[in-house]
């Protein structure tokens, strides 16, 4: 009996204990990574608010308010450095707007077609094509926009400046389409087949079913797709850096060159003196970009989750009745 007792007593397994510790801590590394990203980007941005030395050149106020003479310029390397964020904000919004204007209808339309109307063969063609599109590195898209697209657009529409918000916006749309398409398509195919059957049984045709039944049911998903796509567009760097012309203009004209937040960091961080006001301003922009995209991602995934709850809740109701 004593022997049995001994046999069943819990044994220490040191090796396993150690490995399990590693596995558990790895999960915390993920959380830590996200926190560290913000902390280390924000750390270099803080002097903008706190450092007297930096304040001699730039403050949060001078970045927002008009400069003497009423101008808003971004000229960080002139003898009197100027750090107005307005041209960058306008540039970012301009290119994001153009990209979304092109990407959202195409991606959502494509997703609707794929999930509601497309024959199987078409489906098997379009899905890998979208994956292929998603797999193109953004530097390649940027290259294509700069070398090919810009020339085509200039020839076709007789635009004065080769690199502008339309060129970059189309390039950016290529990066946004896969995200919006995938999330929307997921949402549409999560809608139970019974919804469609029910609608068809009431005499609706396939378009009416898609438009009046399936799309409203999948709405949070489609909305999430738009938010996630916008987040990607705001943060995307290489395409804009290569195809925007990088002139910090204050103009809403999409045929003008422009400069975005992300491209500014990419273009200037390489030549900046570490610890200089300019350096801190670039990190300040980075922290801002992080926060904006972070919030958009939170919102996007919140909507994806809500879609799941919505559809589940409905099918549970259905199961009861």
């Amino acid at each position: 009996m004593a022997e049995e007792q001994l046999l069943l007593r819990r044994r220490r397994r040191v090796g396993e204990y150690f490995l399990e510790g590693l596995i558990r801590s790895s999960a915390f590394v993920v959380i830590a990574a996200l926190v560290l990203i913000f902390v280390f980007v924000a750390k270099e941005a803080v002097p903008i608010v706190t450092s007297a030395v930096v304040h001699e050149e730039v403050t949060v106020a001078t970045m927002m308010l008009p400069q003497p003479g009423g101008a808003f310029s971004w000229q960080p390397v002139s003898t009197v450095p100027k750090y107005s964020l307005l041209p960058l904000l306008i540039g970012t919004l301009k290119v994001t707007g153009v990209a979304l204007l092109i990407a959202l209808p195409i991606a959502i339309g494509g997703a609707i077609f794929t999930s509601e109307f497309a024959p199987q063969a078409m489906r098997e063609l379009i899905k890998p094509a979208v994956e292929l599109l998603a797999g193109i590195p953004s530097v390649v898209v940027g290259f294509f926009a700069l070398m090919v697209l810009a020339t085509w657009l200039q020839d076709a529409f007789d635009i004065l400046i080769r690199l502008n918000a339309i060129t970059a916006g189309i390039g950016l749309a290529l990066a946004v389409i896969p995200i919006v398409y995938t999330v929307t398509e997921d949402a549409l195919s999560a809608v139970p087949q019974a919804f469609r059957d029910g609608s068809t049984a009431l005499g609706a045709d396939r378009w009416q079913t898609a438009w009046r039944v399936v799309l409203p049911a999948a709405m949070p998903g489609a909305f999430a797709a738009c938010v996630l796509g916008a987040g990607r567009a705001i943060g995307e760097t290489m395409i804009v850096l290569m195809a925007s012309g990088n002139a910090a203009t204050v103009s809403l004209d999409p045929t003008q060159s422009f400069r975005s937040f992300s491209a500014t960091i990419a273009a200037e961080l390489g030549e900046v003196v570490q610890g200089s006001p300019h350096y801190h301003v670039l990190f300040f922009i980075g922290a801002f970009l992080f926060l904006i995209t972070f919030l958009m991602n939170l919102a996007g995934h919140w909507y994806v989750q809500r879609l799941g709850q919505k559809l589940q809740g409905r099918s549970r109701l259905k199961a009861k009745s």
Partner: protein, 249 residues
């Protein structure tokens, strides 16, 4: 004679849902105990309580006492991994791993770091499971190529590789053809010379064919337990009589 396993006032819940109420039952060394009753009556919960497989379910809770050789099995200091080797289990659906027949058999010994004598033990276990003649030439082939009945006997042999003191069988013949079922029953009759068997079955006839004693579970309660002959010929509860005679089930 002190029983091998003493179950006293064992109750179990999944979340807030009670699954077993106040079970007290003895299991004797060297016997085949059949547990019968309609589906959802707590047979499987009882069986999985014995080797604490239920612990894997995050919402599971149990109270009472289960003693093996006088050792409390529900205690916190019990090493469930060791316990489960003493009380080997075979499931309703055969679950061979997608590796060779031999690797399936060697899985248990390897967990313990045993590598010697595995081949001899494998042959013995396969013979005990009435499978040796059918697979002796294909030990290196994938276990998934075996028929359903063979797979289940392989799972039985795999459990025997652990050299358990008790064998817990959860409706092991539920999906099998009559010939495979007969072979497993034959194996059990031989095996009880060396170990103790608890057989959960929804096949009343199977209980009457192989069991020394039978326990009848209904809606989470133990209605009655006794020798198989007594339960089948002269049950003391009318519910038992009605179940065995097929009035419900």
């Amino acid at each position: 004679m002190t029983p091998l396993i003493e179950v006293r006032n064992y109750s179990a819940w999944y979340g807030t849902q009670p699954a077993l109420g106040d079970i007290s039952l003895d299991i004797h060394e060297g016997e085949i105990l059949a547990v019968i009753g309609p589906a959802g009556g707590g047979k499987t919960t009882f069986l999985r309580g014995l080797n604490r497989m239920n612990d894997l379910d995050p919402g599971f809770r149990a109270s009472g006492s289960i003693r093996l050789h006088g050792v409390e099995l529900l205690g916190k200091d019990i090493d469930v991994a060791v316990l489960r080797r003493h009380l080997g289990m075979v499931f309703a659906v055969p679950v061979p791993f997608p590796v060779s027949v031999y690797q399936n058999l060697a899985f248990g010994p390897r967990l313990n770091g045993h590598t010697r004598d595995v081949e001899a033990l494998a042959e013995k276990s396969l013979k005990a499971a009435y499978l040796w003649d059918e697979v002796k030439d294909r030990l290196r082939q994938s276990a998934l190529n075996l028929s359903g009945g063979q797979q289940q006997r392989l799972c039985l042999a795999r459990t025997l590789m652990l050299e358990p003191a008790v064998l817990l069988l959860d409706e092991p013949c539920s999906g099998l053809d009559p010939i495979s079922t007969a072979k497993i029953e034959e194996a059990l009759r031989e095996l009880k010379k060396e170990l103790t068997v608890v057989l959960v079955t929804n096949n009343v006839m199977q209980a009457s064919r192989v069991a020394d004693r039978t326990a009848f579970f209904l809606q989470g309660k133990l209605i009655e337990a006794g020798t198989t002959q007594q339960i089948f010929m002269n049950p003391s509860e009318t519910m038992t009589h009605e179940y065995i005679s097929g009035r419900f089930g």
